[in-house]
């Protein structure tokens, strides 16, 4: 083997590795961060390759035919190819991301790439059918005066520079608030919507950017192989990209690059030196593909997080003092409870004096205005009326307990208020604005934040990230800012936000857990993270759906005090709860629901003797 052979070989490896690496990083944006298993991805690479050639090689010579047939300089063609892939990504994303998730999303994207494949191979006027397009030889060589012999080395450097640029953009993006928000969708979409994230738009942006990166990789690939036709690609070839991402570590940029090295260099290249078996030309390539398939299946089973799992970002928290070794949070909680003598008796005193704890309908004139008004809200599932003409009012600055037997429609009512379900009839008015037809993220942005029956933390993000993300700041989270704004990656998060998050973390006794993944926390700690997120979000109205579910009394006490602190700062709270002593402790007014409607409302005391409330709880005929 001569020196020349090896230098050529190394140039081949690095050029192909850079192109393949760009494609894998684009797919990682879609699959690794946004969490969508996109089967259309290879279509964007292919479209990029086709477009680059038809934009550079000039008019087709009969009988060949294809679109455009321009003679643009190669960099312009790259731009065109990237844009074309982005446009196709936009069309596919608009259809597939609207309300499809999981396998349904994958199936539609699989369909999309096959539509492209069928069109490219059958519809001759597009890219000349099975003949394909060709003739892109050593682009930019003549302009830059690069000799035929030097061109491979030049093109390798060109690909590596673009690869480095893509890595830089994605490193910035991954730790930015846009990147964090994107990963929160992957972790829990409902919670993301509850904290103001427009799921559809975020996913669409990531998808289009990923597709564009795929198109860019395709553009480089076209220049490398000089020609492109249907036998040069098959939609399922994306499996090589999936394997690389999976082996390296989904979501981790370094991992993905490493995975590309493993899959591409080791699996693809190792067979390069095997002798061909005479008469069986397809054995070696097939063995290679079988290996890739096996690697995919085995990694999915034994190590789905890959060799290098997603990185956890450690933020520099402003003004953090080194913590002395103290007892675990639970013990601190206990100590705190002992220090506060009999909070239950002092609770009424903490209620704002101006707020009479009665239903607003009957309230005197000096009562605060209603922040939330429900009028005749109804929701049917098939023949079942889950919520049936539900009406109540919530005065500003109070705690309203929403109680009722199981199946009374409490949770559905919350879903209707917060936009997670669409009501059939009736109105929800929040601070004078009708919100019943708004999507969840818009309601959240108005200042109405809800929790769910089970804690919906973002398990794959740290406690600190969970809290940082609770604050929705449109200008901090744009795609443009994440790529070009000040600060690289997770250093771009605003100091003020970090300082505030730190204060909240300390307030809730979560300091030691700040950099722990939220998914590793205990049930009670997850509840605390939920309260901390709400504190960060600073909403006007909080709706808590069974916050006491599975919570021990010590922690319950802590939550009661947190609710009182919210009210003290002027926030309004609605609590759905089966734990009546807790309701009695925190609520100024209680709304009782049964069979989808409100059957009683008023101060807790007034309900003790209410026959219909007793009947509803004990299962007798309800007479309203």
């Amino acid at each position: 083997m001569t020196l020349q052979f090896w230098s050529q070989y190394i140039i081949t490896i690095f050029t192909e590795g850079a192109i393949f690496g760009i494609a894998a990083l684009g797919l990682n944006l879609i699959w690794g961060w946004a969490g969508d298993f996109d089967l259309a991805f290879y279509g964007y690479v292919a479209l990029g390759a086709y477009m680059t050639i038809v934009l550079t090689v000039g008019q087709p010579i009969a009988p060949a035919q294809y679109i455009f047939g321009l003679q643009l300089p190669y960099p312009l063609a790259m731009l065109g190819a990237t844009l074309a892939a982005a446009v196709m990504g936009l069309v596919v994303g608009l259809i597939a991301l609207r309300n499809l998730r999981g396998i349904y999303f994958s199936i539609v994207t699989l369909g999309a790439v096959y539509v492209l494949y069928v069109l490219a191979s059958q519809y001759v006027p597009l890219f000349d059918g099975y003949n394909g397009v060709f003739g892109l030889i050593n682009p930019m060589a003549d302009v830059l005066g690069i000799s035929f012999n030097d061109y491979p080395a030049f093109f390798m450097v060109f690909c590596l520079v673009i690869f480095a640029g893509i890595v830089l953009i994605l490193v910035r993006l991954s730790g930015s608030k846009f990147g964090l928000a994107l990963r929160s969708l992957r972790e829990d979409e409902r919670a993301a919507a509850a904290f103001g994230r427009n799921i559809y738009m975020l996913k669409l942006k990531a998808y289009v950017l990923g597709a564009a990166i795929g198109g860019l990789a395709g553009s480089l690939f076209a220049a490398y192989v000089t020609a492109f036709n249907p036998s040069a690609w098959s939609p399922i070839e994306a499996i090589v990209l999936y394997s690389a991402i999976l082996v390296g570590g989904k979501g981790n940029i370094r991992g993905v690059i490493f995975g590309v090295v493993i899959i591409f260099m080791v699996v693809q290249e190792s067979t390069r030196f095997l002798p061909d078996i005479p008469g069986h030309p397809s054995v070696i390539p097939s063995l290679r593909l079988i290996t890739i398939g096996l690697v995919l299946v085995l990694f999915l089973f034994f190590r789905p997080q890959g060799l290098f799992p997603e990185r956890r970002y450690h933020y520099h928290l402003p003004h953090v003092q080194p913590e002395p070794e103290t007892a675990p949070p639970a013990a601190t909680e206990a100590a705190a409870t002992v220090a506060v003598p009999d909070v239950a008796t002092t609770a009424p005193a903490m209620a704002p004096a101006a707020v009479p704890a009665v239903v607003a309908n009957a309230a005197p004139i000096e009562s605060p205005p209603d922040i939330l008004v429900l009028e005749g809200l109804s929701k049917h599932f098939g023949g079942v009326a889950a919520v049936d003409g539900c009406s109540f009012r919530v005065p500003k600055g109070t705690v309203t307990g929403l109680i009722g037997p199981n199946g009374a429609g409490k949770s559905t009512a919350i879903d209707l208020i917060s936009g997670f379900k669409r009501s059939d009839t009736g109105t929800v008015t929040f601070e004078g604005t009708e919100i019943q037809n708004l999507p969840p993220h818009e309601i959240s942005r108005l200042g109405l934040i809800r929790t769910f029956q089970t804690p919906r933390e973002w398990p794959g993000l740290t406690v600190l990230e969970n809290i940082l993300l609770a604050k929705f700041e449109p200008d901090q989270e744009t795609l443009l800012r994440s790529m070009l704004g000040p600060g690289i990656g997770h250093h771009s998060v605003a100091e003020a936000d970090l300082a505030r998050a730190r204060a909240i973390i300390e307030e809730f006794g979560l300091t030691k857990l700040a950099n722990e993944l939220a998914g590793n926390l205990s049930g009670g700690q997850k509840r605390l993270v939920e309260f901390a997120r709400i504190r960060m979000a600073e909403p006007k109205l909080i709706i808590l759906d069974e916050p006491m579910g599975g919570v021990n009394p010590v922690l319950g006490e802590r939550m009661a005090r947190a609710i009182e602190a919210f009210v003290a700062s002027g926030t309004t709270v609605i609590v759905v709860e089966h734990n009546l002593p807790f309701i009695e402790r925190v609520a100024h007014q209680v709304v009782v629901m049964a069979q989808g409607a409100v059957i009683a409302a008023g101060p807790f005391e007034s309900l003790r003797s209410n026959q219909s409330v007793i009947d509803a709880y004990l299962g007798d005929e309800v007479t309203v």
Binding site: I95, V108, G111, S282, L300, F420, K421
Partner: protein, 298 residues
């Protein structure tokens, strides 16, 4: 009108094969909650098994049995060696789904090594097309239609009336609940996959017969149409799936009978199939025969 009825006749044959493949796919999904992307390879293996047997014996019935058995064994192996292990390890739906794509890739390339990538064909003497009512069918096509009807009828009886069918539906509704009531969910899953494999293997054989020739990739391309028919009908619901398959099969045959300038629309089958699917799924994400929710969280 005459032409229309002829097209309908061909469409019925296409729909019959599609419906066999789709119902097998939907049964696999029903008991494991996994959309098996390697379903097409069961058809391919069925077709090759029949090819091998037909070359040795020349007997059509034996070839058909070989196709079904090979399909059944393949599906059973997929379920017990991969799918069931993934389910028991709680790896999650998406990773299992992705793993089936890997399996598809592995099987395709094993077949390429064994049989080569070039296409093969059965050498079956074709009878002249016969007029049956308004339709024009060959004896092979009549055989396909009759056997498809018989298999569908048999599946209907098994799913609706037998103890096994009840257990199958219970596992589909709620696997955990079925288990605590004493149903061996693992056995039901394996048996259902074997049953689905028998049907899919046979479907591979009749598909290869009606198309003429095949390659290691032919099952996968047909699977793409199977997928659209199944999802359009309703994934996991055998009879909705069949209805979806018949609709998609007929629509594709009618579209394919048109010409646009010099291009026959038949070569765009796959594109049209997915266009139909995209429209259906946008209006009814869970299939034609379901009610849509009003928000994506419902």
């Amino acid at each position: 009108m005459q032409q229309l009825l002829l097209t309908l006749g061909f469409g019925l044959v296409a729909a019959a094969i599609l419906s066999l493949s789709a119902v097998a796919f939907t049964l696999e999904y029903a008991v494991t909650n996994v959309a098996n992307l390697s379903h097409g390879e069961i058809l391919t293996i069925g077709a090759y098994a029949a090819y091998v047997v037909h070359q040795r014996t020349g007997n059509l019935l034996l070839s058909a049995i070989a196709a079904a058995l090979a399909g059944g064994i393949t599906a059973l192996a997929m379920q017990t060696l991969v799918i069931d292990r993934f389910i028991r390890n709680r790896v999650g739906t998406m990773p299992t789904f992705i793993a089936t794509l890997g399996m598809s890739f592995i099987i395709q390339n094993i077949l390429v090594i064994i049989f080569g990538a070039s296409s093969v064909a059965y050498t079956i003497p074709q009878s002249a097309p016969m007029h049956i009512g308004p339709f024009l069918w060959t004896s092979t096509e009549i055989m396909i239609l009759l056997t498809a009807l018989a298999i569908t009828g048999l599946l209907f009886v098994i799913i609706t009336y037998t103890q096994f069918g009840k257990a199958l539906r219970a596992v589909y509704q709620n696997r955990e609940l079925a288990r605590v009531t004493g149903i061996n969910a693992q056995f039901i899953s394996a048996a259902t996959w074997a049953l689905a494999g028998l049907v899919a293997g046979y479907a591979g054989f009749v598909l290869a017969e009606s198309v003429g020739s095949f390659t290691p990739y032919f099952g996968f391309s047909f699977f793409l149409i199977t997928l659209t028919a199944t999802v359009a009908g309703g994934l996991g619901k055998p009879f909705s799936t069949m209805a979806g398959a018949i609709i998609v099969g007929l629509v594709l045959e009618f579209i394919g009978s048109f010409n646009l300038g010099k291009y026959s629309l038949a070569s765009y089958n796959l594109a049209f199939a997915f266009a139909i699917l995209a429209i259906v799924i946008l209006v009814r994400p869970r299939g034609l025969f379901t009610k849509p929710g009003r928000s994506m969280f419902e």
